[in-house]
């Protein structure tokens, strides 16, 4: 009989997730994406690649778009983490969510949460981005369905919306 694999060392992580503070014991080597999906059950955060290639796992850390699949969970100690699940408030879609829905910025939907979070970071930083600024800001987020045309239209439509 071979011995089971050793258990990884854990640490207490305190962070503000979608506006609410919480504490969890997480492995030191745990990636943010795994923490969000498996511990916090926020499965809107997607894994599309083997690390840092596709942007599907994009979340906001202190308002900045970050690939959660190459970020250690423990690096978010005391920080503000936002995922797609935190965008819709009081039963209303956020302006990007509404635009992606109405303009068909989403087809299969797998890249959508990461794409919307990356766009959210862009609009907070630059409320009226040009086409080129949108293309540059979202170039780390791959989509295989749309050819990006309607994603760009969605981001522009959201930028023109006030709320």
């Amino acid at each position: 009989m071979h011995a089971p694999a050793p258990q990884p060392k854990k640490r207490l992580l305190r962070l503000r997730l979608n506006g609410r503070w919480r504490e969890d014991a997480v492995a030191e080597k745990a990636l943010l994406v795994d923490y969000l999906r498996e511990v916090a059950h926020l499965t809107g955060v997607k894994t599309g690649c083997d690390g840092g290639e596709c942007g599907a796992c994009t979340v906001l850390v202190d308002g900045e778009a970050v690939p959660s699949c190459i970020t250690l969970a423990v690096r978010c100690e005391g920080r503000d983490v936002e995922t797609i699940e935190g965008l819709a408030t009081q039963g209303r879609l956020n302006r990007l969510q509404r635009a992606f829905h109405e303009k068909l910025g989403t087809q299969c939907g797998f890249c959508t949460p990461g794409m919307i979070m990356a766009a959210e970071a862009l609009l907070r930083r630059n409320p009226t981005p040009s086409d080129v600024e949108i293309r540059t800001a979202l170039s780390g987020n791959l989509c295989r369905c749309t050819g990006y045309v309607k994603i760009i239209e969605s981001v522009k439509a959201a930028a023109e919306t006030t709320s």
């Binding site: 694999a5 083997d50 299969c108 890249c111 959508t112 170039s139 050819g147």
Partner: protein, 776 residues
């Protein structure tokens, strides 16, 4: 045969958002990896480290003995092959006796966590005696090559030889005959969701539930029954949300069967999530293809004959191979009027991951060669590229020489639209240096008129259910994989009944609940399932109209259906939908109706061997213009803009049609510009999104879409497919635009900067040589 009446759509002329769109933008949509699997075992696959060899020893005893390992399975656990065509099922879910490509599944484990599963894989002892491996069609076909499959001499999976019309006479009558060689790299679907499968076997009831990424659930269901030796009534296959398909998930895939084997062996629940690298290795995409194409043309641009020789490197197993090599030849026809066609196709086995179906299945690479050569010959004859296409248009309805039926044909209008939109006439030849315009046409089937598995069942079936709540539930086996097929079903039902779209809910692709459907492939859903949905809605309408007529004391012919049922013009009596439903339920209870669609035998293609492939009731047609800039120092190509027009018969949901056209054009652009799978001695060197380069948003052009509606006589509301037809036009339009920009013809895909630079250097060298010769 009489034409079905065209029903004019009302609801969706501007298009409606996807009925499951809110789920997607909120992150609530659950894909396979998102399903609850807290109590599931972790599945992992041990893959062959060599490209070709005999398995001498496979010892899993140490892995089995590891604490936390619930099951280990090998080829011994499944002596049954699976595959697509009954005549070509030559693949085991886990290799037995022999491995034929690097990465082929050999054994699998289910353990309590990832670490234990990984550790168990390391404890498996595998000894393989290597055999010669072949990575090109040429080496695999060499006379002394070791056979991958003993029953396939020459490592040929299938050779196809078709001839229609008098080819020799066609070439003899031509004013210009040209022949060129083209080579197109192997590419991959690269859908963003990695493969995943969740299987649960309940040892108490003997039932197996599989939730997986399949585009064709019923077929996976049957393959699992076959491989696990289970009664198929004990199996249920459910499609969760799917993160893209593009053909990757049309076949039953090895990991899906392996996960089911593990679940049964472990008597529990197993979650298998493949890495991106493993997802690439699972493959089943577009094969590397060599094409020798010869065309004859008259001075006026009429095509007089076509001779095409195609070799596809198919990988280690059959998969869809026979269909792919047949499509490559069959779809030489159906786009233009060609009086003579000869086709020789060869599908070759090689020690690489198996190829399969990918968007534009079989048609893309030959169309690339065809549209390229057509342009070059037009140039030589001093003809405009548009004029050459117009000189060869079909007249619908017609039947091609290989018995493909063309019922509606909007190509002429597609040509007019993109010519005008792109300013072709005003701008061609007047662009600044290194900028160019190119164009090409393409087409694709709206589903295969003769299905692969001939059971005598209808091609599509939709059930509608209406109960006390007044909601209409549509049950369809058709897998929505992001293309919007469930939304299309909802629109078809709502428009037929003239009721609110909100009243409809669609339940799709669950083999315990929804009627069997042939699946999401060959762009069949809108045409076939759309027609079945309309048929079902008409049947429901008859019941409701009868109930309303009785209640309103009117004749059924005078009743107008809708959210409020009314007695015909002038009469004020009416009944809200809920009251009509209540009236219809009296004595009968909940209503269930069925609608179906069948392609009549008349459309099933030719009687020649393989003649069913390519047959369809409705071809989509597309034309596109591509504008490029070429940096002649770096070879970098920038696509400035694309204008595309697609004849989809009728756009049931114009918003979704636009999305499909944009996506397919862009996918053609990826193949044309940068996508390529590469293997080093069989080892995938492309198996990440960094190595397998698809265009990012920064490199992707604006795509201006025009929808052409030719109102197909048999399509639902006149509709045809819209998801694949435009793809094949992009690569040749791009290469034609590069020729227009810098005067260089490229024969290889993708047209990477190094290939452009190489061609430019060669041209300079030749010019220098000519100059030296002239001087001496």
């Amino acid at each position: 045969m009489t034409a079905a009446p065209i029903v004019e759509g009302k609801l969706a002329r501007r298009g409606v958002p996807l009925i499951d769109g809110v789920e997607k933008v909120t992150g609530r949509a659950r894909y396979t990896a998102d399903l609850d699997h807290a109590d599931a075992l972790v599945g992992r696959i041990l893959r062959s480290p060599v490209s070709h060899g005999e398995i001498i020893r496979l010892d899993v005893s140490k892995a089995r003995a590891l604490a936390g390992v619930a099951a280990v399975v090998t080829g011994d656990d499944c002596p049954h092959t699976y595959g697509v065509l009954p005549i070509a099922m030559n693949e085991y879910p886990l290799a037995r006796g022999r491995v034929r490509y690097r990465g082929e599944p050999v054994a699998a484990v289910a353990a309590i966590d990832e670490e234990t599963a990984e550790r168990a894989l390391q404890l498996i002892e595998l000894e393989v005696k290597e055999l010669p491996a072949y990575y090109t069609s040429e080496t695999a076909r060499a006379p002394d090559a070791v056979l991958l499959h003993d029953d396939k001499p020459g490592n040929l999976e299938r050779d196809v030889h078709h001839q229609f019309g008098d080819v020799a006479q066609g070439f003899a009558s031509a004013d210009l005959v040209r022949e060129e060689l083209f080579s197109c790299a192997e590419i991959n679907h690269a859908q963003i969701e990695p493969h995943a499968s969740l299987s649960e076997f309940d040892p108490l009831t003997g039932r197996l539930t599989v939730q997986t990424v399949s585009q064709v659930g019923y077929y996976l269901h049957l393959m699992i029954a076959q491989c696990l030796e289970m009664d198929s009534s004990r199996i249920r296959v459910i499609k969760p949300f799917i993160g893209g398909g593009f053909g990757a998930r049309v076949e039953a895939l090895n990991f899906e069967i392996v996960t089911a084997l593990l679940a049964k062996a472990a008597a529990g629940k197993v979650m298998m999530q493949l890495s991106r690298e493993e997802t690439f290795i699972t493959h089943r995409a577009r094969p590397q293809t060599d094409i020798k194409l010869k065309l004859g043309m008259s001075k006026t641009g009429r095509i007089t004959a076509c001779e095409c020789h195609v070799v596809q490197r198919g990988g280690a197993y059959a998969g869809y191979g026979i269909i792919t090599i047949l499509y490559a030849g069959a779809l030489l026809q159906g786009l233009y009027d060609i009086p003579a066609v000869k086709y020789d196709g060869y599908r070759v086995y090689a020690n690489l991951p198996p190829c399969g179906a990918m968007r534009g299945h079989g048609s893309v690479d030959t169309r690339h060669a065809f549209e390229n050569l057509l342009d070059r010959m037009a140039r030589e004859l001093g003809l405009d590229p548009f004029a050459v296409r117009r000189a060869n248009l079909l007249q619908a309805p017609t039947r091609t020489m290989n018995d493909l039926v063309v019922n509606s044909y909007g190509l002429a209008e597609c040509l007019d639209r993109v010519e005008r939109a792109s300013g072709w006439r005003e701008r061609l030849g007047k662009l600044p240096p290194s900028k160019g315009l190119g164009m090409a046409c393409s087409h694709y089937v709206s589903g295969a008129a003769k299905p692969i598995h001939r059971t005598g069942e209808p091609h599509a079936l939709v059930n509608l259910r209406l109960d006390f709540d007044g909601g209409v539930t549509a049950l369809t086996g058709a897998a929505d994989i992001g293309q919007g097929s469930s939304t299309m079903v909802a629109i078809a039902v709502a428009e037929t009944l003239d009721i609110s779209l909100d009243r409809i809910r669609v339940i799709a692709a669950d083999t315990a609940i929804t009627p069997k459907d042939n699946g999401a492939y060959s762009s069949r859903i809108t045409f076939m399932v759309g027609n079945a949905a309309i048929d079902a809605a008409k049947n429901l309408k008859t019941i409701l109209v009868k109930a309303a007529a009785k209640k309103l004391e009117a004749s059924p012919e005078d009743i107008e259906c809708g959210e409020v049922f009314r007695v015909g013009k002038g009469d004020q009596s009416s009944l809200p939908f809920a009251d009509v439903v209540a009236a219809a339920l009296v004595d009968e209870g909940a209503i269930t109706v069925k609608g179906s669609f069948t392609c009549p035998p008349d459309f099933h293609g030719g009687k020649h061997r393989g003649g069913a492939v390519g047959s369809t009731m409705g071809f989509s047609y597309a034309a596109q213009v591509v504008e490029v800039s070429v940096d002649d120092a770096t070879g970098l190509i920038t696509v400035e803009k694309v204008w595309v027009a697609l004849d989809c018969g009728h756009a049931i949901n114009p918003l979704a049609v636009e999305g499909q056209i944009e996506g397919s054009v862009w996918m053609g652009m990826g193949q044309a510009m940068c996508e390529e799978t590469r293997y080093l001695e069989g080892l995938p060197a492309h198996a990440s999104f960094l190595e397998y380069r698809m265009p990012t948003m920064a490199e992707s052009p604006p795509i201006e879409v025009q929808i052409v509606e030719s109102h197909d006589p048999y399509g639902p509301f006149g509709a045809k497919e819209a998801s694949e037809g435009a793809l094949a036009g992009f690569p040749p339009a791009l290469v034609n635009a590069i020729a227009n920009a810098i005067g260089i013809d490229l024969n290889e895909l993708p047209v990477t900067p190094d290939r452009v630079v190489e061609a430019l250097i060669q041209r300079r060298r030749q010019a220098k040589l000519a100059k030296t010769k002239a001087a001496s």
